[in-house]
């Protein structure tokens, strides 16, 4: 995965827009902060999600965190493998650890999200 193609949320999700399909996961930094992920809850295919709203949750031994959608749209695919075993999220967060694919509302753009460079700046200034 070329991280330059991704856009990043301050809440540590990444998003990749290809046509009107938006793929969402969480960042390497988020994975390192969470460690010990035990459970991921994802929406069902067909559910509507909204930009800035929670679409699921990720639970580690320490804490539970919401997962936030970057766009409005309809869930068209979920990574069902993660529900039984969340390991791919920790091992390969930008690849096999993807979480959901959203058919984004027409006109959706990720231009309010951060570039890789901006995101790395956020992390190095304290997360």
């Amino acid at each position: 995965m070329d991280l330059k193609k991704l856009r990043f949320a301050p809440t540590h999700e990444w998003a990749l827009m290809e046509g009107d399909t938006c793929t969402v996961g969480i960042t390497q930094f988020a994975v390192e902060q969470l460690t010990d992920v035990v459970y991921i809850e994802l929406p069902d295919v067909g559910d509507n999600v909204f930009a800035g709203d929670s679409f699921g949750e990720i639970e580690s031994v320490k804490a539970v965190s919401d997962l936030y959608s970057p766009v409005n749209g309809e869930v068209i695919a979920i990574n069902t493998a993660l529900v039984n075993d969340p390991t791919p999220v920790s091992k390969d967060p930008y690849g096999k650890g993807w979480m959901i694919k959203i058919k984004a509302e027409p006109g959706s753009k990720l231009d309010k999200m951060m570039t890789q460079e901006q995101y790395e700046k956020q992390i190095s200034s304290g997360g």
Binding site: T35, D36, V38, Y39, E59, V61, K62
Partner: protein
Amino acid sequence: MALRTVLHDWHVAHGARMVDFAGWDMPVQYTSIVEEHTAVRSAAGLFDISHMGRLSFGGDGALPLIQRIFTNNAATMKDMQVRYGLVCNDQGGIRDDVLVYRWPYGWAMVVNASNREKIVAWINESKASFDVQMQDQTLETCMVAVQGPKAIELCRGITEADAGDLGYYFATPSRYRGQPCVVSRTGYTGEDGLEIMVGNTLGVALWEELIARGIKPCGLGARDTLRLEAAMPLYGHELSEEIDPFQAGLAWAVKLDKGEFRGRDALRKLRDDPTRRQRVGLALQGKRIAREGAKVLADGKEIGIVSSGTFGPTLNKSIAMAYVDPNHRAVGSECVIDIRGKQEAAKVVALPFYKRES
């Protein structure tokens, strides 16, 4: 500013994630809670527990004073013995859970970090005219725990005394690099192991020597998952001023016939009152974690509340301890737990969740 143990700078230099715990800046994990947890269950782990309060007592009034504030019986302890018990308020609520040490020359008590100042004040208030000299040694000393099936073997020769020669819940004064220390066959993980107390000046040397022997440093995160699997109560979760020892399943640590002590009259009444909620273990069907404060329901009604919960790495299961109404406490009783608005199936299981093979 947060208090720091003598090992604080070592933790930070070695990448520990630090959190505030009871006013102390403590390591929650170095690598991963699960990795550290597993090291303790399979080999040995090392914990900085210098934040725990260490009080020592001298004088003829030490035993009478301890008897006055301790629910267990200190008078029947042998020299070098360690005994668990509670300090209760006059209503029978738990002010702290503590370990009492009997030495040939005096007594000591290890109390929770979060309760140290409260207990010191309680002791001063309770000591009346007893001839006692109490010293709070917490800030001058360092305390580490080595826990796990290989703990005793890996610590052989570190101190003059060998923990392997101590019975479980016995301790001995000894020496480390020529300086006085205490070695105690105690712990808070459900494994065999020992705890060592030494003056601050040798704290880092001892810590590094233990690590050089292959003992893995572990943070408070793993300490919590380990004690939870072993169903050991944690003050502020399973224990509080509003909970009494009978509810908490700690009747064995209350000796009502040992003589007068603070809280005894209230405890005598509470012992015979079966209406209060009781501590139970819950095993969840799914993997989500029921954390403190989650409501426990049966037939749509609230019957209890979770006091702590985690994902038990050894059991590979989501577990919790909760206080539930007495008619729902039986092992096998089914319930649901409201986790952030969604109901998760659970059932009451026997405690502890995990017990080591002996």
